[in-house]
């Protein structure tokens, strides 16, 4: 069993910002080494941004990632505002927070569905994505689009939320509570999901800090960071919310953190809506120029902190625009979590940092195919993962999460 097999995963698993190519080096069933190769999604956005005006840059960074299409613009406009000391009306801050939190709910539901798909429960996938559509409806109501909202601009937001729409939005949000509770119970109380995810892919607190892990990946390990609380921005200093943390840092904890965060997000949005209903005023300070200077902006995206650095020389274009997405820091932690795990668990461990890749989006391309290497493709991996679930079912007599007949009025 000493022969070393290389299992390539990737390069394409399209549901994340950065398609990656993982090479799992395995001996028997154990993963002994992990190679991570990036670059399949490198579009040179930082350089492109230097050729765009500050207004256009927002649309460019929106297209860094379709899932974080509020987080990047929000971090970017905050960097521009920091550089030029541009004031933002209070109403705009509440709208920013509300849209950002809606995005968090849809992103976490998306991840939850794919994680369920991964361990062989397609029911969770379909249910989670079905309720994600409700979130997209709210976003469409507020912003006019399902994704790529085009809401942020330096100095404010592009669209106000109509006061007449607020009761409807609030009602739609409340209707999300039940489905999320359903998922919480399905995941937290189900013994089979415990068997598949507890104690697997552990990231210790020390390692999380060393690697600079961010977002739910860090918080699941007890590394209590959240830039919404630590570095006040947008409307967060005026809102009441909890930062969810867990201790163990395994796949289960990462799922729990994300599910509980959705309840917090609903709380935050409801507070924002109350404020928006009470107050009025402009949503945009209409800055005409961005003075010379440099600025840093960040925002707690669903996956962790998004970082933007902008330098302006007083013209209408940035002379340097640095972007750091959270996965850039989170993905290297896989080198710690996946070692010693079995191949059947590797898929869910690699997915747990929320690169949220789905088997169906991946493929194995035989790069460097030499003797002694056996190539498994995504289907094989998925099969292995599902077989393990079946095996556990047979051994323990447990059944998958039973999703009750869930009727919405």
């Amino acid at each position: 069993m000493n022969k070393r097999t290389i299992v390539p995963i990737g390069p394409y698993h399209a549901l994340q910002e950065e398609p990656e190519f993982f090479k799992l080096h395995v001996e028997g069933e154990k993963v002994v080494h992990l190679d991570i190769e990036l670059g399949y999604n490198h579009r040179g956005i930082e350089k492109l941004s230097e050729s765009k005006t500050f207004e256009e840059t927002i649309f460019l960074v929106e297209r860094i990632c379709g899932i974080c299409s509020t987080s990047h613009p929000l971090a970017c406009v905050q960097a521009v505002e920091d550089a030029g000391e541009i004031p933002v009306p209070e109403r705009a801050l509440f709208i920013r927070s509300a849209v950002g939190e809606l995005e968090r709910i849809h992103s976490h539901l998306l991840w939850l569905g794919l994680a369920g798909h991964f361990i062989g429960f397609n029911t969770i996938w379909m249910w989670a994505w079905r309720f994600r559509e409700d979130v997209l409806n709210i976003l469409e109501l507020i912003t006019g689009n399902r994704n790529h909202y085009g809401m942020m601009k330096p100095g404010g937001v592009r669209r106000d939320i109509n006061k007449t729409d607020i009761p409807a939005i609030s009602k739609l949000l409340d209707s999300l509570q039940d489905p999320i509770k359903l998922f919480r119970d399905a995941v937290v109380q189900d013994p089979l999901i415990h068997a598949r995810t507890k104690g697997i892919g552990i990231l210790t607190r020390e390692k999380a800090q060393d690697y600079g892990a961010l977002g739910p990946t860090a918080r699941a390990s007890g590394y209590d960071i959240d830039v919404r609380r630590d570095h006040p921005h947008a409307a967060y200093p005026m809102l009441d919310f909890d930062v969810i943390t867990c201790e163990k840092g395994d796949v289960f904890d990462k799922a729990v953190v994300r599910i509980l965060e959705m309840f917090e997000s609903i709380r935050i949005i409801q507070q924002c809506l109350t404020q928006l209903e009470k107050s009025g005023g402009p949503v945009d300070s209409n800055p005409k120029t961005v003075p010379a200077g440099e600025g840093i902006g960040f925002y707690e995206a669903p996956r962790g902190e998004v970082f933007h650095y902008v330098r302006s020389d007083g013209s209408n274009r940035p002379i340097r625009h640095k972007v750091r997405a959270p996965s850039f820091m989170n993905v290297p932690t896989n080198r710690e979590t996946v070692l010693g795990a079995t191949v059947a668990d590797a898929t869910i461990i690699l997915a747990a940092v929320d690169p949220c890749y789905c088997c169906t989006e991946r493929m194995a391309v035989a790069v460097g195919h030499h003797d002694g290497e056996r190539l498994l493709n995504a289907r094989d991996l998925m099969r292995l993962s599902c077989e393990k679930t079946d095996r556990l079912m047979a051994e323990t007599g447990l059944r998958g999460p039973s999703l009750p007949d869930f009727q919405r009025e």
Binding site: Q16, E17, R43, R63, W125, A378
Partner: protein, 163 residues
Amino acid sequence: MNRTINALTRSLNVFHLAGSACNNCDIEILDALTPRYDLERFGITLVGSIRHADVLLVSGVFNRKAAIRAMELLEQAPKPYLVLGIGGCPCTGLMFRNSYNWDRPPSDYMNIDAFVPGCPPKPEAIISAVVKVVEGLRSGALVPRCLQDATELAETPEAAGTV
């Protein structure tokens, strides 16, 4: 209509070939398959390998690193197959076409049969594209470009039918 092409008008196996995309089109493709839009009820399912595919959904621009892999992959697709360019990126490259890592328009090295523009196109648009392509195949107005002689291939995306 010959029998080979007839196979393309039934339940389709879809493979999803994402380039250096922002993932939004990919998510909208999955959205079209999940319960709200539910293309699966027509037997349209996502498959994990290009060797099982009838239709390739291409999304995003392809950078220099990804384009080589995409070309390698396309050779593994069983004929006849259809290629659908989903989103604005495969059509024109949108805002990424001036990038240092931009390779070429995907239509230069892929026989893209239909384009679905939009950033991202809504699931309704994707469904509408599938319907139009199937209708085109049935009426004979659309012949899969992978079956056409290579020399007849049009060079520009405009020559392909935009849905």
